[in-house]
């Protein structure tokens, strides 16, 4: 017979090896080359067997340990099943209606695009843009991880980056990497109308000043048409390690690893109480919004720290590198609230209100302006159909 191949020779050393031709041993006795190869194979096998045996666990799991492992598995399975992904909710804002322009100096009404911008500005004002639902937006709040907001920093996002971020956030929610309580979700971002500032102050837990009519632009009503209050809430978003790993692996991170202890960590978002005074223009629609809110807080409960969860989120595939770089460049991310600003719709610049750092926003048409600042542990904002100087006057009048 011809010389057997290497595999057949190696198999001949094992009794249970399949496919060993019967005449092989006879051949090896007669073939010096095959005998040498077989001898080498035997030496290699004799070295490997006891060495590799050392890697076995000293004591195999007992039946009780196996049963305990099964119990742990079933608990884990139940946890995964219970964490049904929350639906991706669309962001609501404090301005459901179009913002009309004061007749004396503006065109009749804003178009859809302008309404979107206005909504965006007001959303920034009351932080609803970040915190509308635990399932969707609050995952973004996790992305924008910070501990206690004391100042703002603009994170510029162009439409492509915005889409990328939305895709990633949507993917995280859809795949159940982050899940939130649907009941918590339903209550967020839906302020209730109250009788007046006194009631608003009582619900919010802080004093809400009246706006001096003297600083209001012409055509704007002197008293608020509506006062809206969002009580302080706590939203919890649960991080699922297994789903995060699955997510990472389906997005090309086959070697991704996350410590087991991360599983089930809750991101606790302390949504501050917020009060918005809505002033009507001449046609009765909202023309000016003045808001005050507590500061946003964020922490974690569970095996992963806020820093660790932040790293996980910032490291997610699909996020625009530039956005991540901007977020990473924030020196003190625990006290800085990053505000995503769509560069194609809104311009922003630094400003000051009563000596405090502020951000001034404007839409591309110049019709809509907003100011956002923090002072004395509160977030303040003014937004509406007014000029930047008018917004500044209103802001300066607020204590």
């Amino acid at each position: 017979m011809p010389c057997p191949d290497l595999g057949a020779l190696r198999a001949s050393l094992d009794d249970d090896a399949a496919g060993t031709p019967p005449p092989l041993h006879d051949h090896v006795h007669a073939c010096a080359s095959c005998a040498d190869t077989l001898a080498e194979l035997q030496r290699n096998a004799e070295l490997a067997a006891p060495a590799i045996a050392l890697t076995a666990p000293d004591v195999p799991p007992s039946p009780a340990a196996v049963q305990a492992a099964l119990t742990r598995f079933e608990q884990r399975r139940a946890r995964v099943a219970a964490a049904t992904p929350a639906p991706v909710a669309t962001a609501t804002t404090a301005v459901p209606d179009p913002i009309p322009l004061p007749r004396h100096r503006r065109v009749a009404r804003l178009g859809t695009r302008a309404r979107g911008v206005a909504a965006g500005l007001v959303a920034a004002l009351v932080l609803a843009g970040l915190l509308v639902t635990p399932g969707g937006r609050a995952a973004a709040a996790g992305f924008l991880a910070q501990f206690r907001s004391q100042r703002f920093e603009v994170v510029s996002v162009d439409p492509a980056q915005s889409t990328q971020v939305a895709d990633v956030v949507g993917g995280l929610v859809k795949t159940g990497v982050f899940t939130g309580d649907a009941l918590q979700a339903s209550g967020l971002g839906e302020p209730e109308v109250v009788a007046g500032l006194a009631e608003a102050s009582r619900i919010a837990g802080f004093a809400v000043p009246a706006v001096d009519p003297a600083v209001l632009p012409g055509g704007v009503g002197h008293t608020p048409e509506r006062v809206l209050v969002s009580p302080a809430r706590e939203a919890r978003i649960t991080f699922d390690r297994d789903r995060a790993l699955a997510y990472l692996r389906t997005h090309g991170r086959s070697a991704a690893q996350l410590p087991e202890r991360y599983d089930g960590t809750q991101l606790v978002v302390r949504v501050p109480a917020a009060v918005v005074q809505q002033f009507a223009g001449r046609d009765g629609g909202p023309a000016l919004l003045v808001g005050k809110a507590g500061t946003l807080g964020l922490t974690t409960e569970g095996g992963a720290s806020l820093d660790e969860l932040r790293e996980v989120v910032l490291g997610l595939p699909g996020l625009p590198a530039e956005t991540v770089a901007q977020l990473r460049s924030i020196q003190d991310w625990r006290t800085t609230l990053p505000l995503p600003v769509p560069t194609d719709q809104v311009r922003s610049r630094p400003a000051t209100v009563h000596g405090a750092e502020a951000l001034s926003f404007a839409d591309q048409t110049g019709r809509l302006h907003a100011l956002l600042w923090q002072r004395d542990g509160h977030i303040w904002g003014v937004a509406g159909v007014l000029g930047s100087d008018e917004a500044q006057d209103v802001a300066d009048s607020l204590g």
Partner: protein, 193 residues
Amino acid sequence: MRAVRDEAGTRTEGRERFASVFKERYRELYGLGYRLLGDHGEAEDVVQETFLKLDGHPVLERPDDEVAAWLRRVCLNTAYNRLRGQRRATARLDRAGRAERAEDETDAGATPLLDVLRAEQQRAVRQALASLPERQRACLLLRHAGYSYAEIAATLDLAVGSVGVLLARGERAFREAYLDSDDLDPGAYDALP
């Protein structure tokens, strides 16, 4: 109504089947995971992940030997993914070695010296194995854990006739890597209990 009962019955059978497979296969998968990773906690993690992938998977309806091969394959891949995730496999091996040494030193019984030597040998073996291509490494581990050629072939999705070649090459590569270890005394393991 009957359809509902049938569905519930099927679900119950599926759960029972799963639990039975879990109990039957846990020990061997744990052994495989531990052999590769050298860490009890990580080995359990890998096995749990493996069974999580099995849960609801159609392969569960296949015959036992096919389920077993599928589980071994997934377990090995999961363990390899963990190893690959480390910046340097050797760092893991060093840690595993240190952890085992620390464990052994803490739990030093009548043979602390042998325990330390054993831990050193385990480290050297895992280091040598880590230098092998993954299929060779898997083949060696499976064969020296007692699996038959047919089982290895099913696990690695090979023809049975190819197992011998893979094993021969793997053992040769292992010998070279193992004997090249800096701190190795090739005969030391012979003296261990």
